[in-house]
């Protein structure tokens, strides 16, 4: 059985992620996406993963969602986002989503993880110190590489967003 917090957060998360895709105005969609990410952070709290929940809020809600909202406001003009969805495509998408939900859900439901022995979440929560320790020992090479990844993203984004007015470009050769 699930408790009331779980039901509340589940409805919030799934509802807002549908709103994020279906809202008429893109900006409301972006805000709904941010709320959906907050809902995921709530799930993390239910799973006793406070550190990951904090990280989710700071990075996803604090950085990603805000970045998305700024971009949406930056590129906003009156008639840009009034696209109607293709009816046939929409039906196909709903069918595909239901098939995914049913198929993957069925795989999980027939498997052993529905067994209450397996799905036992009552053990003591993981100590945050352990996360820090493993980050600095076993995972340290991945941490270095992650640093390079972020540096690559920053260099790439800066190179893309920079305006060049001064240099002549003859780039479009098609």
């Amino acid at each position: 059985m699930v408790d009331a917090y779980f039901v509340g957060i589940a409805i919030l998360t799934i509802g807002t992620s549908i709103v994020a895709l279906e809202s008429k105005e893109l900006i409301y969609g972006a805000i709904a996406l941010a709320i959906s990410m907050l809902g995921i952070a709530g799930f993390f709290l239910l799973l006793d993963a406070q550190f990951v929940a904090m990280f989710q809020i700071t990075v996803y809600v604090g950085a990603v969602a805000v970045l998305v909202i700024f971009t949406v406001m930056l590129v906003r003009t009156q008639d840009l986002f009034s696209t109607k969805d293709d009816k046939g495509r929409k039906v196909g998408g709903i069918i595909l989503a239901l098939v995914t939900l049913g198929g993957v859900g069925a795989i999980f439901l027939v498997s052993g993880i529905t067994n209450p022995m397996f799905g036992n979440l009552d053990s003591d929560p993981i100590d945050i110190k352990e996360i820090g320790k493993s980050m600095l020992t076993y995972y340290s090479p991945a941490l270095i590489v992650l640093g390079l990844t972020l540096a690559g993203a920053v260099i790439g984004a800066l190179a893309l967003a920079r305006r060049e007015g001064l240099l002549k470009e003859n780039e479009s050769i098609n």
């Binding site: 993880i113 270095i144 990844t149 993203a153 790439g156 800066l158 003859n170 479009s172 050769i173």
Partner: protein, 502 residues
């Protein structure tokens, strides 16, 4: 942690050079210039790494074929093989960018991103932990998203970049799901430990294992360009700046195969999943659709993109037959290094034409043999090698692959058909390759004046021609290197504890 192990040396050296280039650029007074300087620095750094890895290989120090150690990175032959193939691609790309990036904006970021992406590709081949694999996968992908969009005035390039990003991000999200499932079943992210625990997994968790393997195939399949996941590929390879097309087709695609061999092939083999047939069907569809798609194209980079889909199909032959044949995986690796050189040579020759004649259209290639003789001959040789014409290197790797399909034995009744499909596809591909060559050699264009060929690109093309012809005539060393880098699957089983022998 051993700071002198090859993967960490690669990370530290290429990473610090890659990050130093934008810093040098911001200190210089002239904005946007310095293309030549950065090109030389990056080529130098890559050649230094190539030298270090070669010295390690030839020093006689025993290197394990494939390792699943306790750490996140192994220092083994398998990784070294991929590192050398991928570094050859990066050195060709950076050297030819000497000409391509002339008078273009932001050279510093361009070279820095290529170096960072190369680190990611190499670390994929070395990683023995799924977390490392994912982080390296992103280090490879994120810079290439930016590089694909580098021609900012070109709408086609931008559209290609958006499409490439969407499919790339989807593939990494699918990989996170797959890794999550593996972790949930086995409780570890180390590839070796995960495979061992999967063997002893409870019977009722097997469906989740299968779902995880399928998601891995989908996630890696997007980068490898296998058929249900290939729709983004022609647009991205065509729209990206042409040297970046070479990096994508010859580099990131091969890194996808490295990951697939590390994860899927070993898992399928150890778990005794009978997925060979599925992988073989994917292989046949991939090569057939790739070749058929290439037949109707008008733009040369697009033809090359479709042909690289087809080549992924040939490489998949070896992956699908890996459990049954000793030489299949060796053949795949042999074809991977050959394809890396052939495809980057072809793309770089196209870049030379794009720089001088400002067009990708096949019509501009009429009479190219007289206008740009060196480029024309290099393009022809790489196309012939791609088709698998005898004295060239592509012939030998296809021979090994098709041969391994024939000699698999009675257990794989469809093996010979796979070989027949491969041969028929090679014949089909010769059709459009010959068409390009006919345009270059037999037809005359409106303008037949000799054009000056870009120097750095010519040097790269000469190197590639020597590689293709030289290792075509004397293919033994590379074939030995490839077969020595392949994990011996039957020994792998004897190492792992309590595996049910079929």
């Amino acid at each position: 942690m051993d700071f002198l192990s090859t993967p960490l040396l690669v990370t530290v050296i290429l990473g610090s050079v890659g990050l130093a280039i934008p810093i040098i650029d911001s200190l210089r007074k002239e904005r946007g210039a310095g293309n030549k300087l950065y090109s030389v620095i990056s080529v130098g750094a890559i050649i230094l790494i190539l030298g270090i890895i070669s010295i390690r290989l030839f020093s006689g120090e025993p290197i394990p074929t494939i390792e699943f150690g306790k750490g996140m990175l192994a220092d083994d032959m398998f990784g070294a093989f991929f590192a050398i193939s991928l570094l050859i691609v990066s050195v060709m790309v950076t050297a030819s960018s000497w000409n391509y990036m002339k008078n273009k904006t932001n050279p510093a970021a361009y070279y820095s991103l290529i170096l960072l992406s190369s680190i990611g590709m190499i670390l994929i081949a070395y990683s023995t932990d799924l977390v490392m694999l994912l982080v390296a996968w992103e280090l490879m992908s994120i810079p290439t998203y930016a590089l694909a969009a580098f021609s900012k005035r070109d709408p086609i390039s931008n559209e290609a970049a958006i499409k490439y990003f969407l499919f790339g991000a989807l593939s990494s999200a699918i990989l996170v799901v797959a890794i999550g499932l593996v972790y949930g079943i086995t409780g570890t992210t180390n590839i070796g430990q995960a495979i061992i625990s999967m063997v002893n997994v409870q019977q009722d968790l097997v469906p989740i294992t299968l779902l995880a393997v399928a998601l891995f195939i989908a996630g890696f399949g997007f980068k490898m360009g296998l058929v249900p996941f290939h729709m983004w590929l022609p647009d991205a390879y065509e729209g990206a700046p042409t040297p970046i097309g070479a990096l994508l087709a010859a580099g990131t695609k091969k890194a996808g195969f490295a990951a697939a061999i590390r994860v899927i092939v070993l898992a399928v083999f150890v778990l005794h999943l009978d997925w060979s047939m599925t992988l073989a069907i994917i292989a046949v569809f991939t090569m057939t659709l790739g070749n058929l798609g290439a037949l109707v194209q008008k733009s040369v980079p697009r033809i090359l993109a479709y042909s690289s889909i087809a080549q992924a199909g040939y490489i998949m032959i070896g992956l699908s037959l890996a459990p049954y044949s000793d030489q299949a995986l060796g053949g795949s690796l042999f074809h991977i290094i050959n394809h890396a050189v052939m495809k980057s040579a072809a793309f770089i020759a196209v870049a030379a034409v794009a720089i001088t004649l400002a067009s990708y259209s096949i019509e501009k290639y009429r009479g190219l043999a007289r206008r740009m003789p060196l480029t024309a001959i290099a393009l022809s040789i790489s196309l012939l090698a791609l088709a698998g014409v005898p004295p060239l290197n592509g012939f030998w790797s296809k021979l090994v692959l098709f041969n391994s399909a024939i000699v698999t034995g009675p257990e794989v009744w469809w093996g010979p058909y796979l070989a027949i499909a491969g041969v028929l596809n090679s014949a089909l591909s010769l059709g459009y390759y010959a068409w390009i060559m006919r345009k270059m050699y037999m037809e005359e264009g409106p303008d037949m004046t000799r054009v000056k060929e870009p120097r750095a690109i010519s040097a790269v093309l000469i190197f590639a021609m020597i590689f293709m012809v030289g290792f075509g005539i004397w293919h033994a060393p590379i074939l030995d290197f490839a077969t020595n880098s392949v994990p011996n699957l039957s020994q792998l089983v004897s190492v792992l504890p309590s595996v049910p022998i079929k």
